[in-house]
Symmetry: C2
Subunit: 421 residues, 2 copies
């Protein structure tokens, strides 16, 4: 008997009607002879409504209480789906993240899963029940307080449960038909991928693809859980994320897709002494503030001044804070000025085939040049090339690369309305 | 340092504005030098809205899932009140019933508290925090599932916590100014009582007074927790429920108040053989269906037939079921017919003074007779006289007794709008 873990996002359960439809789908899966575990996000706008209520009573709500408040949303949706399943004649039981054994760090609002001990889930499955587990939450190993997992938390819950229960597959139901060669809202002939390796999906997610959050893909890869990303609106197969790129035969290794990211900003520290230790001071200052740096470029120093510039990218929301703390330490570190640019976009080409096919970087740069797009920074890995461009040119850059590497097809992609969570 | 437990009902926290006002009241109590534990019901209509959502996905929702669903309401309100307290500069932490150590039976929707182990609450208090505890819920000792406590559950939670923490007082904040000599909506000159003994409050609650549920008062009496029933709209003192009537000096023991109950119905089993064992069969049949019987009357048997009638009262909602099962066993038990009357009302006079003052029963019956009200059944205890009357005459009966025993005063009672939960 196979064990299937399914995850449904907030728009899939936004109304009583949709809840009943999701219940039908779940019961079908059970009737096909599977054990079924389902992770459900909060209904539609519930989380936003709760956040709004919180704001009305407290301008800066304490993180612990925010987690107590927000986790009610998932509790409600999971209990309702369990009830809907019951009305279709099947057994179902809902559990909170804590009851399902999701153990996390104590970092409220952004906790990481440490372990999953799904004893109660397994027992309920063995009794023949369909099991619902509230996503996006767990319990802190130290304080025993309830925690939430941050963006994409429900997807991560689903994959973590699939790993702990040794599931055959983890199905992530969403608003799009799967993982595409590029964002179908930007590239009209973007194609749905049948299959993507873990490493390629990691790169796509890290470079801006929103269909699966990075943490979820990391978890899936570490525990080798196949993830099937598919639409909750149809029964068509989606994209299977599984397997290592090492196992792809060389001749089948391809360029997989183009990702883009509007969420980064660029900081340049100008006139830093080009001497060992100074770059480290800049990065240490930023790291101590728990700001993650993405791409880095150190310019060639000017011989006459002995000074150099360091440029790096970071999440746009962290930009002002990074500029502020660097400015505070200007004399201490010793540089001329800090520049900030939040009008950048990042475009990335991802593909296992890059490793074995020379000339990809050249073709990449030629495609952008032909489209008249200026490249600001370049950063590469074994299977990825990323560049910074002006954000007004980002969409054109995506389209240029998608066409140059012939990723399009005849069928135009269908985009469903929804929040895609 | 005193320990105060407070309970606020749903209408007290129905909006963000009211939540902030409740938070102010709580912080004042803390600033006065007390340790404070607060039990909060779900916001306003939340419970009804959740029930409605449940109905939309499932006509007969499983009880376990209903408890998972409904308990979200209290979780939300408690987290919001904790946040509001935080915005006033004080520390606050919210806990679910389970986290606060409220252990219950497994009876979903109507669980009874078995024990309260408030270790985490005590630790948080010792750290200087105000503690919020979600009312109306606990965790089943056997299954570890979440349970709800039935009507008045939040009041019971508050009293149970007060007992377990050895609190100095349990303040129940509600829509009315306290416990009255009669329902102020029926009797215009009903007076607020300053003090009521546990036993008298038990009788009043058992006989229909809705201000405190019977189970809550039983718990308070067993653990000797003083309960202060007061209005959440003013700072006036309310009614202190405490002490045993045994401790009231004879000369101070009085008639305390009049309670009424519209929620009962009357069943008469006609033509039952007047022989040992037959009455027992009737009561056993009803008891096996878990129906509670209140008042009982066995008529004097008719010598010529050797048969008698038995009449008893029960909750109106159980009436049809009792009639059905007795009818099914008609031949087996051997009676002529079953009669059902759901147009009855019960009016009761309560007072410790009854024990030491002869003539109360006579005065009681004379007052009703003078008002032209017919008495159907009489039932008494040491400190209570209850009679059944026609429900159309119930309000008049209440007023007649209240006047005859001079319970009124000059000040007219103020009745606030609200659900009184």
């Amino acid at each position: 008997m196979a064990l299937v873990v399914q995850k449904y996002g907030g728009s899939s359960v936004a109304t009583a009607e949709r809840i009943r439809r999701v219940a039908e789908r779940i019961v079908e899966t059970k009737k096909a002879g599977n054990d079924v575990v389902v992770v459900v996000s909060a209904m539609g706008d519930t989380t936003d409504e709760l956040l709004d209520l919180a704001q009305q009573v407290c301008p800066v709500p304490p993180a612990r209480e925010m987690d107590m408040l927000l986790t009610s949303g998932e509790r409600i949706s999971n209990a309702l789906v369990a009830m809907a399943i019951h009305s279709l004649g099947a057994e179902a039981r809902s559990f909170t993240g804590s009851q399902a054994g999701v153990i996390t760090t104590g970092s409220h609002g952004n906790a990481k899963i440490i372990d999953v001990t799904p004893g109660r889930v397994r027992a309920a499955l063995d009794e023949g029940s369909i099991v619902l587990v509230a996503g996006f939450q767990g319990v802190s190993q130290d304080s025993k307080d309830i925690t939430t997992l941050g963006r994409g938390g429900s997807d991560t819950t689903a994959v973590a449960l699939a790993a702990a229960l040794d599931a055959d597959v983890c199905e992530i139901y969403t608003d799009v038909d799967g993982v595409f060669t590029a964002d179908p809202r930007i590239v009209k002939d973007a194609q749905r991928l049948d299959k993507v390796s873990f490493e390629e999906m990691l790169e796509l997610a890290a470079c801006g693809a929103k269909v699966l959050m990075l943490r979820c893909v990391e978890y899936a890869r570490r525990y080798n859980v196949p993830v099937h990303v598919r639409s909750s609106y149809t029964t068509k197969p989606g994209t299977i994320v599984s397997g290592s790129m090492e196992d792809i035969p060389v001749e089948e290794a391809l360029i997989t897709g183009v990702a883009h990211d509007r969420g980064e900003a660029k900081v340049t520290v100008v006139g830093l002494p080009d001497t060992p230790g100074y770059a480290a001071k800049v990065f240490r200052a930023v790291a101590d503030a728990e700001i993650n740096i993405d791409m880095v470029l150190q310019n060639i120093s000017k011989v006459e001044t002995g000074k150099t510039d360091i440029t790096f990218t970071l999440p746009m929301s962290d930009g002002p804070r990074a500029v502020e703390l660097l400015t505070k330490q200007q004399d201490e570190i010793g540089f001329t000025q800090v520049l900030f640019d939040d009008h950048i976009g990042k475009v990335s080409l991802v593909g296992a085939g890059m490793k074995s096919h020379p000339g990809v970087t050249a073709k990449f740069c030629e495609a952008l040049a032909a489209a008249g797009i200026n490249i600001d920074l370049i950063s590469t890995s074994e299977i990825r090339i990323s560049v910074l461009v002006d954000d007004t040119e980002l969409d054109d850059a995506v389209r240029a690369l998608h066409a140059a590497f012939e990723l399009g097809g005849e069928e135009e992609a269908v985009v469903h309305a929804g929040t895609g969570r």
